[in-house]
C-alpha cells in the first residue's frame, strides 16, 4: 500500500514554476532517496509535501494514506503523521531549542519517555539553551532538526539533506540517528522516509529501497540506489539520467 502518493504535481513559487508533473510514491516501511543537483526541485518537493504555503500547487494531488492532503495546513499534515527535517531551518532569536522541543512534545499530546537519555545519545545537550539555529554549525542544525523528528516519531519522515555541511565524525552519528529514527535495527516494521541528499554520503545508512533523480523541477528516473549513485559520481547528473535503464 502506498503511504504517500504524489500525482502529476506542478508547483509555483511567486508565479515561477518550481515543480513540473512530479510523480512519486512511497510504501509503508519504505525509504527512498531523492537525488539531483542544486535547484532541481528536491527541496521544493519536500516543502510542498509538508505544506509550505509559499509553494502553490497549480496541478496534481498529494495523497497520504489514501486521503487527499493537498489543501491541508502544515499542522494538520503533522497531526496525520508527516514530519520534516529542513535543509536550512530558519534562525529564530528568542526561542530556545529546548522551548521548541517542549512545545512539540506538548502538541503531540503524549509525553516522551527517556527524553534526557535521547538528548545525550544524540549529542544535542549543548544546544538546548541556545536560540533556535542561531549560530549553529551545519552539523548542529541537522542534528537539531533530526532530534525534533525523533520527538515527533512520524509515520513518514521527510529529511532534507541531513548530510550537507556535516563533518566526517558527525556523518556517522547522523547516520546512526537516522537508523534509530527509522527503526532500521529494530524488530518492528521500519518507518518510511524520503531522504534528500546531494552528496550521497548518508545513503549507506538508510538502506533505501529506491532512488529518484530530479532534474529541472521533475523526476527523471528512479531505480536501484547504489547503481544510480555510482553513475552520478562517475558521470554527473545530466549524463546519469540519459541512461536507458531507469527512465521514469
Amino acid at each position: 500500500m502506498a503511504l504517500l502518493r504524489v500525482m502529476d504535481l506542478s508547483v509555483e513559487v511567486d508565479g515561477k514554476k518550481v515543480l513540473k508533473n512530479v510523480n512519486l510514491s512511497i510504501g509503508v516501511g519504505e525509504r527512498i532517496l531523492l537525488l539531483g543537483p542544486n535547484g532541481s526541485g528536491k527541496s521544493s518537493l519536500i516543502q510542498t509535501i509538508i505544506g509550505n504555503p509559499k509553494y502553490k500547487v497549480v496541478r496534481g494531488k498529494i495523497f497520504f494514506n489514501n486521503e487527499d492532503i493537498t489543501a491541508l495546513s502544515p499542522e494538520k499534515r503533522v497531526s496525520k503523521g508527516i514530519s520534516a527535517a529542513f535543509q536550512i531551518p530558519p534562525k529564530i532569536k528568542g526561542v530556545t531549542f529546548q522551548e521548541l522541543i517542549k512545545l512539540v512534545i506538548s502538541k503531540s499530546g503524549r509525553g516522551f519517555e527517556k527524553l534526557e537519555e535521547v538528548i545525550n545519545e544524540m549529542g544535542v545537550n549543548h544546544l538546548l539553551k541556545r536560540d533556535l539555529n542561531v549560530g549553529f554549525s551545519g552539523g548542529e542544525m541537522k542534528k537539531a532538526e533530526l532530534f525534533l523528528l525523533f520527538v515527533k516519531k512520524p509515520k513518514l519522515a521527510l529529511i532534507d539533506e541531513p548530510d550537507s555541511g556535516v563533518d566526517v565524525e558527525n556523518i556517522s552519528l547522523i547516520g546512526k540517528m537516522l537508523r534509530k529514527l527509522l527503526n532500521l535495527d529494530g524488530k518492528r516494521r521500519k518507518n518510511s522516509a524520503i531522504v534528500v541528499t546531494h552528496t550521497g554520503y548518508i545513503a549507506d545508512y538508510i538502506e533505501a529501497n529506491r532512488a529518484y533523480v530530479m532534474l529541472k523541477g521533475t523526476v527523471k528516473c528512479y531505480g536501484n540506489p547504489e547503481i544510480i549513485l555510482k553513475n552520478i559520481r562517475k558521470k554527473g547528473f545530466e549524463e546519469c539520467v540519459k541512461c536507458e535503464y531507469y527512465k521514469c
Binding site: 509550505n52 509559499k54 529564530i92 532569536k93
Partner: protein, 409 residues
C-alpha cells in the same frame, strides 16, 4: 518621622533659580506637555494598606513585599517615602533627604542631569519630592537586588523623585525599579536618576514599568562610568501610557568602560512613546550596545532612538532596533545615530521593522503548532533580549513580566 521632604530645601538657591528659568523649555524629543497643570500630590491615606492591596501589581513590576532575595527596599507613594532600608552592611539605601543629611551626595547631585535640562527636570526640582540614594561601598559585591518602587495614586499630580545610584570602586549593585500607577489616576512622572559607576564597579539597573493610559512619563537619567566599570540598563514597559519620553545620557569616561542599554517596549492603545539613549565613548577601549525591541498594537506610536558618539580610538558601538507591528494603525520609527570622531572605531547598526515573518510561522506550524501558537511563540521570542551579566533572579523577573505581557497580545 515625617517623610515628606522637599529636595529644594536642601539644595542651593542656584538650582531653584535655574529650574525656574527652564520651566518653559521643551524637551528635545517627545510630545510637549503643559507642566503647570500637574500639582504636588495630596497626602495618601493609609499608604501601607494601599501597597498591600496592590500586591499583584507590585509583583508584576518586580517588587517583593516580603523582601525575600532583596538586599534593600525603597518605596514611595506619591510624595511619601514608605521605606528606605538595607539588609546588607556594605549597602546604603537612603531617602534623598537622609542622604543630604549624611552629606554623602553633595558632590553628585545634578552633576549628570542638569536641573535646567528641560521643563521636566525643572518641574522635578521645583515640585518633586524624595527619591532614593543607593550606595554600594568600596569593594562590596551586593548579591541580591535593591528593590525600589514608585507608586502614583493622587490624580493630576506630579511625582518627581531624585534618585541616585553610586557604586564605589570594585563594588557591584543591582537595582530593580518598579513604577506603577493606580488605574484611575492621571499624572506626570518625571524622576531624575543619576548613576555613578566607579572604577571596576558594576551596576545593573532594571526598570519594569506599569503605567496607565492617562500617565505622562518623562524620566531623566544620566550615568558616568569610570575605568573598567560596567553599567547595564534594562528598561521594560509593558502597559499603555499616555505619553513617555526617555533618553538616558551615558558618559564612558574611563578606559574599557562598558555599557549595555536595552529597552523592551510593548505599546498598546493610543500610547505615544519616544525611547532612546545616548552614549559618549570618551576613553580608549570603551564600548556600548543599545538594543531595542518594540511591539506596537492598536493605534500606538513609538519612536526609538539610539546614539553612539565615538570620541576615542579602539572603541566599539552597536545599535540594534527591531520593531514588530501587530496592527496596521500603529506606527514605528527608528532613528539611530552613529557618530565617529576617530578612525579606529567599529560602529554598526542594524534595524528591521515589519510584521512576523511568514517563513518562521510556517516552520513552527510544520512542527505541529497552529498559526496562533506559532505567532505567540515568535512574539515572546522577539521580546527577549539577552543581557549578559544580569543576575539570574532579575532575568527570571524580566522573563515573567514579558511572558505576562505577551499573553495579552
Amino acid at each position: 518621622m515625617k517623610n515628606v521632604l522637599n529636595v529644594n530645601t536642601t539644595s542651593v538657591e542656584g538650582f531653584r533659580r535655574k529650574a525656574e528659568k527652564a520651566l518653559n523649555k521643551p524637551a528635545k524629543y517627545g510630545l510637549d506637555l503643559d507642566v503647570s497643570v500637574f500639582q504636588s500630590p495630596k497626602p495618601v491615606n493609609k499608604p501601607l494598606k494601599l501597597l498591600q492591596g496592590s500586591r499583584n501589581l507590585l509583583e508584576k513590576v518586580g517588587v517583593d513585599l516580603e523582601e525575600k532575595k532583596r538586599s534593600g527596599t525603597y518605596y514611595q507613594l506619591d510624595e511619601i517615602v514608605g521605606k528606605a532600608s538595607s539588609s546588607q552592611p556594605g549597602l546604603k539605601v537612603l531617602s534623598l533627604n537622609k542622604a543630604f543629611q549624611e552629606g554623602v551626595i553633595k558632590d553628585y547631585f545634578h552633576k549628570l542631569v542638569p536641573v535646567d535640562k528641560d521643563k521636566y527636570t525643572a518641574v522635578a526640582a521645583l515640585k518633586g519630592k524624595a527619591g532614593y540614594v543607593n550606595i554600594a561601598l568600596q569593594g562590596e559585591r551586593i548579591k541580591y537586588p535593591v528593590q525600589t518602587c514608585f507608586f502614583m495614586s493622587s490624580p493630576n499630580s506630579v511625582q518627581a523623585p531624585h534618585n541616585m545610584i553610586i557604586a564605589e570602586e570594585n563594588s557591584e549593585i543591582h537595582v530593580i525599579t518598579g513604577c506603577l500607577v493606580m488605574p484611575e489616576s492621571v499624572g506626570l512622572h518625571a524622576g531624575v536618576t543619576e548613576i555613578y559607576v566607579k572604577r571596576r564597579a558594576k551596576v545593573t539597573y532594571t526598570m519594569i514599568h506599569s503605567w496607565n493610559p492617562e500617565t505622562h512619563v518623562r524620566p531623566r537619567t544620566g550615568a558616568l562610568v569610570e575605568e573598567n566599570g560596567q553599567l547595564i540598563i534594562h528598561y521594560i514597559n509593558l502597559t499603555p501610557v499616555s505619553s513617555l519620553q526617555t533618553a538616558p545620557e551615558i558618559f564612558l569616561k574611563g578606559r574599557n568602560a562598558k555599557v549595555h542599554l536595552s529597552s523592551v517596549i510593548v505599546s498598546k492603545k493610543k500610547s505615544n512613546m519616544d525611547v532612546g539613549g545616548t552614549v559618549f565613548l570618551e576613553a580608549e577601549g570603551t564600548s556600548a550596545e543599545i538594543i531595542s525591541r518594540v511591539i506596537t498594537k492598536d493605534e500606538a506610536e513609538v519612536v526609538t532612538r539610539g546614539e553612539i558618539i565615538a570620541k576615542s580610538p579602539k572603541t566599539k558601538g552597536h545599535i540594534e532596533c527591531n520593531g514588530l507591528m501587530l496592527s496596521k494603525n500603529s506606527k514605528i520609527s527608528t532613528i539611530p545615530v552613529l557618530r565617529s570622531e576617530s578612525d579606529d572605531v567599529e560602529l554598526t547598526h542594524e534595524a528591521a521593522v515589519g510584521k512576523l515573518k511568514e517563513d518562521e510561522i510556517f516552520y513552527l506550524t510544520s512542527k505541529g503548532l497552529t498559526r496562533k501558537e506559532a505567532a505567540s511563540v515568535l512574539v515572546r521570542g522577539f521580546m527577549k533580549v539577552k543581557v549578559e551579566g544580569l543576575p539570574e533572579i532579575l532575568s527570571k523577573q524580566i522573563e515573567w513580566a514579558i511572558n505576562s505581557a505577551a499573553s495579552g497580545l
